[in-house]
């Protein structure tokens, strides 16, 4: 399927954890399906059990859910090497609460839950990769949490801007405002006073 396995879009990511050309390595790639999503398309519809884990190879997606007033709240952005899946739904089998939308043309590779479970069972290296990826996201979330309460809208914007300058001019500000827990108007005013 891929002549040179090393050239698969996910190789660089996996290689951080699993040595190439081992059994654990080779077992993975044949299990992947490739997907393309147009800008605006949904990777998975809401309220449906979700059994594929999508790795982003190209593009940016946002995770969002609907609050009690049916406003869309953006909770995460995923770029290359990120995951475009409601992780809770995928791991627990519960229905999707989060929807994932392509914000640019999006290219993903997905693996079915059963196949991933199989990898976990068969290869210690995959358990390890799973542990480390979970750890990575856990720590990222702890940091995001920290003081989302404590910081002013201004501070949250400044930190996000420093970290993710590349997203501005690529995706609409309304999603960034939502992710940062403020209205579009507040974000606009913060950016105006900057200039």
């Amino acid at each position: 399927m891929f002549k040179a396995m090393e050239s698969h879009p996910l190789s660089a990511f996996i290689q951080q954890f699993i040595p190439p050309n081992t059994a654990a390595w080779d077992a993975f790639f044949p299990l992947l399906s490739a997907h393309q999503f147009a800008k605006g398309e949904l990777v998975a519809p809401a309220h449906v059990p979700c059994d594929r884990l999508h790795f982003v190879a190209q593009g940016v997606a946002r995770h969002f859910f609907l609050d009690q007033d049916h406003n869309e709240i953006t909770s995460w952005f995923s770029g290359p090497s990120g995951l475009a899946t409601d992780y809770r739904a995928f791991t627990t089998g519960a229905p999707n609460i989060f929807e994932i939308q392509a914000l640019t043309p999006l290219e993903t590779y997905s693996i079915h839950r059963d196949n991933l479970d199989q990898l976990y069972r068969q290869y210690k290296e995959w358990e390890r990769l799973g542990r480390i990826v979970n750890q990575f996201y856990l720590i990222a979330l702890i940091e995001r949490n920290n003081g989302m309460f404590v910081k002013t809208a201004r501070q949250r914007y400044d930190e996000f801007y420093d970290q993710h300058r590349e997203l501005f001019n690529l995706i609409p500000l309304k999603y960034i405002a939502s992710y940062l827990g403020m209205t579009l108007e507040t974000l606009s005013r913060i950016r105006a006073e900057q200039r």
Copy 2:
């Protein structure tokens, strides 16, 4: 050290993931140290690299950090089977940002990072346990995050009260207020209008 391994305070927890009386099971218990902390005591001081993972056996601890104005922000509570460690510091080797304080007399068992790494390397079952524990906390945090922004102070209180009634009358309200992202006064007024 423990005559009947099954009676160790962590047995019930570990048993969910690892079958008793296997090599992976037996390897664990001799690596633990027991600790006692008095009410108010710190499990680990801030800004010091932290190399032991503490499992709570008895009591309640809080995780907190200092914001830019040197206010203590409570970010998590740990009861029995919970972890009383700055997980980020423990896993990455970075200095502690979070401090952990015993809110009641606290009993923990701790394992050194090197020994845990050893278990991970030696036993697939431990990699698996690590993966699942990470997954569990990740999902818990995703749920906490969800809409901490979106919900009113009132809603956050109601949900927390339903989930953790046992903490009220056990620990001071100021820590709960901080965890819920509101002032002590606001929490008090919410509780007053309830009655």
